[in-house]
């Protein structure tokens, strides 16, 4: 399929760029680690294991959210250098392939950070999930995609604004609130084992589908805007 081939080309380009510099992954990893350490100052996770379980789902996502923000801003900054974005504008391939390729690349980066970070998080906060731990394998990618798909879109949007690093969180946080709520609640449900994460999983899936569609449909307006 032609569309898939274009997406793959963009994805390969972004992965290669990241492989050569490793800027965003290293930055994200260290940043998230810092957030984990700073949060441990707020309360003692070893002395209060049940509190740790209650709030660490939220902490994990907040850490990832902040980390993703740094990477998302950078991911478009690369395209601005040497007027690459103008070249993209002239390409006959659908504009959304560029978006999907980049969103997939960002998804891979943030997932890589999660794979390293989730065990570290478990160790530092002494977490033993009381619910079905395997569900995290579904919750984490769904949540990450929800963050990344809107994040990539709004990073492209804030590219045209002044003080763009500030703009991204201002726009992304309010829009992603339902997704944030769903992923935090689902993760907490798994960690505490007190409730079922099923409802929140469904919400995440719905959010992912709706906003992926919207981003793909509207990206053309964003790119072709002069």
């Amino acid at each position: 399929m032609n569309y898939a081939r274009h997406v793959l080309t963009h994805l390969r380009k972004d992965l290669r760029l990241e492989w050569r510099t490793k800027d965003s992954i290293n930055g994200m990893l260290f940043f998230t680690l810092l957030v984990v350490v700073v949060f441990s100052l707020a309360f003692d996770p070893t002395a209060y294991p049940s509190i740790a379980r209650q709030i660490s789902g939220g902490l994990l996502w907040v850490a990832l959210l902040f980390a993703a923000m740094t990477a998302l801003n950078q991911s478009w900054a690369r395209e601005v250098r040497n007027h690459v974005l103008d070249a993209h504008r002239l390409v006959t391939a659908p504009a959304s392939t560029l978006f999907v390729g980049k969103a997939l690349a960002n998804f891979i980066f943030v997932s890589a950070v999660e794979i390293v970070l989730a065990p570290i998080f478990g160790v530092f906060y002494n977490l033993h999930p009381l619910g079905q731990a395997w569900l995290l394998i579904i919750i984490l990618p769904l949540g990450t995609w929800a963050l990344v798909v809107n994040g990539t879109f709004f990073a492209a949007l804030s590219l045209r604004t002044r003080s763009r690093e500030l703009m991204l969180p201002l726009v992304l946080f309010p829009i992603s609130m339902p997704a944030l709520l769903a992923m935090i609640q689902a993760t907490t449900a798994v960690l505490t084992g007190e409730s079922e994460p099923g409802l929140w999983l469904k919400l995440l899936i719905a959010f992912d589908i709706v906003f992926t569609t919207l981003c793909v449909l509207l990206f053309d307006f964003l790119l072709r805007e002069d």
């Binding site: 045209r160 703009m167 726009v171 309010p174 829009i175 709520l181 409802l199 709706v210 307006f221 002069d226």
Partner: protein, 247 residues
């Protein structure tokens, strides 16, 4: 809005002042009804009277977001086809977004003032309050995007964001509903509904504030149109061309 500014249209000349006078008259009746005529509520006492302002403004705040969405869609549709009409749609979009922020701010503030004596707390993260705060945040971010982008691009970026916000509101509403469910249930019909003796105060205030909102919306729209015209004539002057009455 094709009329030249130098010759005021009959709308701005007669209808607008009349409308404003009517608005003040209705608001005066509403004030009298709410403060002096409506009976004192049994448990909450006089504090309940803020209800007539809180409910009216908070409900009216739910209207301009729709106008904003329709205007934004209109902008994206006319952008390539009819630039002059697209600009008018854009003016309506920014006017309705700012009115949304104004009304939601009034709703939030009067709600906080009411909650403190009645519930004993300023704020609670229940379903409606959280959704409402989110609505406020969405439109603040909308206005911020417009402020922070250069004039030529603000329209499209904001229009795209408006569509995102419109899709987001129902999802947020449902998700928060599942999450928390303390705000009093709807007051018309059902249990704990409003005493009929309080209806006139509600309806007069609703009518008055709706008229006032419509006035503000039109005023802000006309202001933005004027700003657009000024910007256009400025760039035309800059090019050393004769100003046309295109807009």
């Amino acid at each position: 809005m094709q009329a030249n500014e130098n010759h005021k249209s009959p709308v701005t000349k007669f209808l607008l002042p009349l409308w404003l006078l009517g608005t003040f008259a209705v608001l005066a009746v509403g004030y009298r009804q709410a403060i002096f005529i409506a009976p004192t509520e049994a448990t909450m006492g006089d504090i309940q009277r803020i209800f007539y302002y809180h409910v009216t403004n908070a409900s009216l705040a739910l209207v301009p977001p729709y106008i904003n969405l329709i205007a934004s869609l209109g902008y994206l549709f006319w952008r390539g086809r009819n630039p002059a009409r697209a600009l008018a749609a854009d003016a309506l979009a920014i006017a309705s977004a700012e009115i949304t922020i104004l009304l939601t701010s009034i709703g939030l503030l009067t709600g906080i003032l009411w909650a403190r004596p009645v519930w004993g707390i300023w704020w609670t993260w229940d379903e409606r309050l959280t959704t409402y705060l989110l609505l406020w945040m969405l439109y603040v971010s909308y206005v911020l995007v417009r402020r922070l982008s250069s004039t030529g691009q603000a329209h499209t970026l904001a229009a795209v964001l408006s569509i995102f916000a419109a899709v987001d509101v129902p999802i947020t509403f449902m998700s928060i509903r599942w999450w928390r469910t303390q705000h009093p249930s709807p007051v018309f019909g059902g249990n704990g509904s409003l005493d009929p003796s309080m209806y006139p105060a509600v309806f007069w205030n609703l009518a008055g504030w709706a008229m006032w909102t419509a006035f503000l919306l039109y005023f802000r729209y006309a202001l933005e149109r004027r700003r657009q015209r000024a910007a256009a004539s400025h760039s035309l002057d800059f090019l050393g061309q004769v100003q046309t009455d295109e807009y």
